[in-house]
């Protein structure tokens, strides 16, 4: 698969990658390597960006999601996304969580309440917010907001969760909470994570892909790539010689 922006900045060249189900796959490498572009291709958020050329195929359950025939709305419900900066919608905590479900037509009060509780538990946020669900989401701290964003994706019961440096703005304690909930979630969800540090990559990866300048340099089981990389460039990056 290849992706190019109209201004030619960040692009991907000939990426071939198969992401395993119910595991955490980490995409890492220096900035500008194409990790976010790849992530945004997986739920077609690149449709909103200035992409001029996107060639190739992304197969999800035998369906090419890049095909123009794909129902993009449905795809985005199956493939959730958490962004680097926590962006809570200007609604209450509860409304943030039920937003996607209500848009898809769910009106049943108890099913919505169940989704709220379940997703907050999964994102390790229930204890902190269960008695203030009708307060504005913006009243939460940064770390709580980011976990709310994770919960908001989970509420839609997606198959895949994409996370683009989800802890880059968080303190170590909040980061720990997010990583812990991710490690539980991978039993039920396929997780694709762009970590904000090489340490986080090493901590969380079941599988890891190293990107450099828009190319996939190396893709392997996490432990192997961080302890015994095959490619010299991967080794240099993992050992901190550049980037």
């Amino acid at each position: 698969m290849s992706v190019a922006y109209s201004d030619g900045t960040e692009s991907l060249r000939d990426i071939n990658l198969s992401i395993p189900e119910k595991a955490t796959t980490v995409l890492f490498g220096p900035a500008g390597g194409g990790k976010s572009t790849l992530l945004r291709t997986l739920n077609r958020l690149n449709d909103l960006a200035d992409v001029v050329d996107c060639q190739g195929h992304v197969w999800l359950d035998d369906v090419d999601i890049l095909s123009p025939k794909v129902d993009v709305i449905e795809l985005r419900r199956r493939v959730g996304m958490v962004f680097a900066r926590p962006v809570v919608l200007p609604l209450t905590i509860r409304e943030n969580l039920t937003y996607g479900l209500e848009l898809s037509g769910e009106q049943n009060r108890s099913r919505l309440d169940d989704a709220v509780e379940r997703s907050l538990h999964n994102a390790a946020l229930w204890e902190e917010v269960h008695d203030r669900l009708d307060e504005p989401a913006s009243s939460l701290s940064g770390g709580q907001q980011q976990r709310l964003c994770l919960a908001r994706s989970l509420a839609l019961e997606p198959d895949i969760i994409l996370l683009d440096e989800p802890t880059s703005g968080l303190d170590p304690i909040s980061t720990g909470k997010v990583e812990t909930s991710l490690s539980h979630l991978k039993q039920d969800y396929t997780i694709v994570l762009v970590p904000h540090s090489i340490q986080q990559a090493a901590r969380t990866a079941d599988f890891a892909a190293f990107f450099l300048g828009g190319e996939l340099i190396e893709y392997a089981v996490g432990r192997q790539i961080f302890t015994n990389p095959r490619d010299q460039r991967t080794e240099d990056y993992v050992e901190g010689r550049f980037g």
């Binding site: 739920n43 958020l45 909103l48 709305i73 449905e74 985005r76 419900r77 959730g80 996304m81 962004f83 900066r85 962006v87 809570v88 919608l89 200007p90 609604l91 209450t92 937003y99 996607g100 848009l103 898809s104 504005p136 989401a137 913006s138 964003c149 908001r152 994706s153 839609l156």
Partner: protein, 296 residues
């Protein structure tokens, strides 16, 4: 120079001079503000103190008598009310719709940029030009005659650019990240606009609408040829009726009728001013309320 906390500071003399310049600038700006505000306050005070004695229930609810030198101004009040309402019915949906299109759907290219420039220029066209345009298009060509319909449409055309530019600005002030997040949760673009963008932009849009309508309510030139009657001592019964209107009535009794009691002139001004200021206060209340419950 380094002070006791080890922080570099400018030499004493420089600090003193800067302080003096600061005080001087501050004084200048206070003076400028005072010079702007004082005349406005004086005008308002003058109009209210001279005009208030004329205000009475008969003045507000009766039709003019004795060549407008006595009686009330009800037809003008009613006319201005209907004109403002008619303007709102036409200008608000068109203006807000165009703003949504320009801000949310239209791509940024040469055409939309040209349209934006045109809208800004339209907002600056003298109102008498709109009046002539309305006369040509609505009164004569479309055959609406001198009527509330022609007047409302003319005022609407004048108001639409104001509403478009303020509403578009309010829509653009909504952070783009809200749109991306909403889309990523499986919302369509219209769902995103209706549930996230519009509620956030609403106070700004409402302010723009009210300021635009307020201007329309107070204009004389656009209604001069399209709706306003010099003297019509009855209330309009259909949108094809001509009508009196407050600004034009004020113009007439101030310049065209000899022997006009000054009390009635100022009384009319008080009513018009109260109408417009009232709308302004509503806009301010809406804005501050919305700011108080803003959720981010």
């Amino acid at each position: 120079m380094i002070n006791s906390e080890g922080i570099h500071t400018a030499p004493r003399g420089g600090a003193l001079r800067r302080k003096r310049i600061q005080r001087f600038g501050f004084l200048g700006m206070t003076l400028a503000t005072a010079l702007t505000v004082t005349p406005i306050l004086l005008i308002v005070a003058h109009i209210y103190s001279t005009g208030m004695p004329a205000i009475s229930l008969p003045f507000l609810t009766e039709i003019p008598r004795d060549g407008m030198r006595a009686g009330g101004i009800l037809p003008a009040i009613v006319g201005t009310f209907w004109l403002t309402l008619g303007t709102a019915l036409v200008a608000v949906p068109l203006g807000v719709g165009a703003a949504i299109y320009l801000s949310e759907y239209a791509s940024d290219n040469r055409w939309t940029r040209a349209i934006r420039v045109a809208i800004i220029n339209l907002a600056g066209i003298p109102s008498v030009v709109y009046g002539l345009f309305g006369l040509g298009l609505f009164v004569l060509f479309l055959g609406f005659g001198t009527s509330l319909l022609a007047g409302s449409l003319t005022l609407a055309i004048m108001t639409i650019p104001v509403i478009i530019s303020t509403a578009e600005e309010a829509l653009r002030a909504v952070p783009n990240s809200f749109r991306v997040v909403s889309i990523s949760l499986g919302a369509t673009q219209w769902q995103t606009i209706r549930r996230i963008v519009l509620p956030q932009a609403l106070p700004g849009i409402l302010t723009g609408i009210i300021l635009g309508l307020e201007r329309a309510a107070g204009e004389t030139a656009p209604i001069l040829f399209t709706v306003a009657a010099f003297f019509l001592p009855r209330l309009p019964t259909s949108i094809f009726d001509a009508s009196m209107a407050l600004p034009y009535h004020l113009f007439v009794i101030s310049t065209q009728v000899p022997g006009m009691p000054i009390k009635i002139q100022y009384g009319t001004a008080v009513v018009l001013l109260t109408f417009v200021l009232g709308m302004n206060i509503i806009a301010t209340v809406i804005r501050s309320r919305a700011r108080a419950r803003r959720r981010w």
